[in-house]
Amino acid sequence: MSLILFTATGCARCQIAKKFMREKNLGFDEHDAIGEGKELFGKFYRAHRTAIVRGADGVEFPVLADGSEVRQGVAAAIAWLQAGDRLDGFIGRSEISKGWVGGLHVSKGDPAAIEDLVGVLGFLKRNGLKLLLDTDGRNAAVLERLLAQGLGDRVAMELKGPKALYAAMMGMPIDTEEVHRSMTQVAGFPEYRFETTVAPVVRAEEGPTGLRYLTPDEVAETALWLKVATGSHRQPYVLRVFDPQADPDDRFRSVEMLTPTALLRHRSAARRHQVLTEVE
């Protein structure tokens, strides 16, 4: 396997990726995408547009290629080198920088790959990057392990809704006891917050067109659950507006988008149990 690593002048994350490859004795060709390798990267980019994201600040480096796969960003590159695609669910593209690595989805990966995940996150952490984890409550055991290893500087937990609606909101069977365990774990990380996107939910009892947003009372139930799970009514809890157009579920396209003002009733309801609730 011939590895190519596109880097950028002054890119600290590229140095971390190179360090990992050297420690693993992985040979690679490096090209500075804004220096001598500019022309080569331009050609590579045009051939792999769909695999490389260009954000508002340009392309994030490093970009790793092995002839068949492309991985962008230090976490994704190292994860690929560590475990191939076995960590793909856990590690995605980071949308934050300045010392942080995001796109670390505790709930979306295969728990069987926990040792590789710990290895990758541990390497990133040892090299000075701070880890932003997210979870929706699934894979509580993974979260427990990361907490025990000190691998997580900040955690954002998306609380989908009250227990009774959690499976409907997720569109899959859910063990709410596991979600409960995750809430308890999240409160143990150095920084954390809980979030609920006030989204539409399919109300099975109302037939196939029974789509309605979470109600203020249902958000209050969620806040109460959070209070019971964590033993505190002072959790950082944020309510967010749902964007129907950005959701992959086509059923939501026709749903009217709420305004932040419309969530104030939800905030009032949630504050009955979580006094620090805010609308974002």
Binding site: P216, R265, R267, S268
Partner: protein, 480 residues
């Protein structure tokens, strides 16, 4: 401002035939919410019920607050807003805006209300025909505090102003936060620079910048401008004014954007220069429909010290760089910015500018338009209430006899006149005229009467000149 050490308090002047007679309610300093009749008779005291302000509602109900947050941690944060009945029973309460855990204090919800609120049914909180505030239901608009950080304004914590709408059940259903509209406020670079360095820093609660200090908030209510198609004046839109920035503005209730603004600069157009610099103003509101002057903006332009901008000799840093030592009550056409009525030291009959500071309250104060065209003015710092006619004659005057024990001042934040029938619990009081006392002959016991015991003539003296020169020029009104 110029009081002798001895002077009467209570009602001092009253012409029943020319007044709009009723009860007057105000917060008596460190005493409670006090309702008085036209002769200053104290009809009822809601003892130690706070109020910023107190407002009477039809049926003898009253709105106020049960207390304030410790000034060690906050500034002018009302714990709650309550409606009490004639007997003092709480019939409505709101406090769930922010959960506060101040060191050494019991954790509690607080409204953080300050300076103003409006109950549905009436846009401005005072009597206007057909616009009675609701007493057993309805929403309440509340001016509150919110601590924020906004590096576009300042790198320090800010004590921000927010406006919330609360329903009868106590749910917050609308919120507007001032700092989110910083770029709509018209601050020039010199003001922005100063705000960043000194956003009116207060030490309480670890320190925060009370950068705007919004001190009034009301709805526009139905008005002719909106009826004519000007959507800036939608009846649901909100007008506020802020003493530290000298800004008065109207917020679109739907979008939250500022759609009409006066200040912070008053030198940018001929209309503004003619209007003059409004400084530290209070109680800017649109005169409600049904009252003389409806649709105009009525404001107590305090003078004093306020604003951010370029340094000058009176403000070496540019902080509170606008200065004036007298007050003005202005009624302004919001379209042309013409002053259509005013009460200033000139209308008060005071020699200008040498005696102008006799009509002066550098903080608090208000003006209420009455149905007969009179205006009830709270000249707050001296605890003086006057009712003046359209022709500027004082037909009622009252001086608060209540000085605080902790703060030795008889200040009145804001007084309101209400009709007698809003208090059905008591008989309409007798109205006894109080003639104007000729102070040139008024003496306290022990004082000698006016008049020299012996008069001698001096040969060659000239009569006094009507245009006598003083050390400063008098009766000069600055031209724009």
């Amino acid at each position: 401002m110029t009081y002798p050490s001895i002077f009467p308090t209570g009602a001092t002047l009253y012409d029943p035939g020319r007044c709009w007679n009723g009860y007057t309610v105000f917060q008596a300093k460190e005493v409670g919410a006090l309702l008085i009749d036209m002769n200053g008779g104290e009809v009822q005291l809601w003892k130690e019920l706070h109020g910023m302000p107190n407002r009477l509602l039809p049926g003898g109900h009253l709105i106020g607050s049960t207390g304030e947050r410790s000034t060690a941690f906050g500034s002018q944060d009302g714990i709650d807003l309550v409606q009490v009945d004639w007997d003092g029973n709480v019939v409505w309460r709101f406090n769930q805006y922010e959960f506060i855990e101040d060191p050494g204090e019991a954790p509690q919800w607080m409204a953080r209300q300050h300076h103003d609120y409006q109950r549905e049914g009436n846009p401005v909180g005072y009597y206007a025909p057909g616009l009675a505030p609701l007493t057993d239901r309805g929403n309440t608009m509340i001016l509150s505090h919110k601590n924020v950080r906004n590096p576009a304004i300042c790198d320090k914590p800010l004590l921000d102003d927010s406006i919330i709408e609360v329903n009868w059940e106590g749910e917050v259903i609308w919120e507007w936060v001032c700092s989110e509209h910083f770029d709509e406020l018209g601050f020039r670079e010199d003001a922005r620079n100063l705000l960043f360095r000194n956003p009116n820093w207060l030490k309480s609660g670890g320190g925060a910048g009370d950068w705007m200090h919004i001190n009034s908030m009301s709805l526009l209510g139905p008005n002719r401008w909106f009826d004519a198609g000007d959507r800036r004046f939608h009846p649901d839109n909100i007008i506020w004014c802020a003493r530290e920035s000298n800004i008065t503005a109207i917020v679109d209730k739907q979008t939250g954007r500022i759609v009409w603004r006066l200040g912070p600069n008053y030198d940018e157009t001929a209309e503004l220069r003619r209007l003059g610099w409004i400084i530290g103003q209070h109680h800017a509101h649109m005169i409600p429909r049904g009252l003389p002057g409806e649709g105009h903006i009525l404001v107590f332009d305090n003078g004093g010290w306020a604003g951010y901008g370029a340094p000058n000799p009176g403000s070496p840093t540019g902080f509170r760089n606008a200065l004036r030592d007298h007050s003005r009550v202005l009624e302004i056409d919001p379209i042309s910015l013409q002053v259509v009525w005013q009460y200033t030291p000139v209308e008060a009959g005071l020699a200008f500018p040498v005696d102008a500071n006799r009509f002066y309250s550098p903080f608090i104060s208000s003006a209420q338009r009455l149905p007969n065209g009179n205006t009830l003015i709270t000249e707050g710092s001296g605890g003086r209430l006057i009712e003046v006619t359209d022709g500027h004659e004082i037909v009622w005057e009252y001086i608060s006899p209540y000085w605080g024990r902790m703060l030795k001042i008889n200040m009145i934040y804001r007084a309101y006149r209400v009709p007698y029938d809003w208090v059905p619990q008591v008989e309409t009081p007798a109205e006894q005229a109080i003639e104007r006392i000729d102070v040139t002959h008024f003496r306290v016991p022990g004082a000698s009467p006016r008049g020299a015991r012996r008069t001698v003539n001096v040969a060659g003296v000239l009569p006094y000149r009507p245009d006598a020169a003083l050390c400063v020029r008098t009766d000069v009104v600055e031209k724009s």
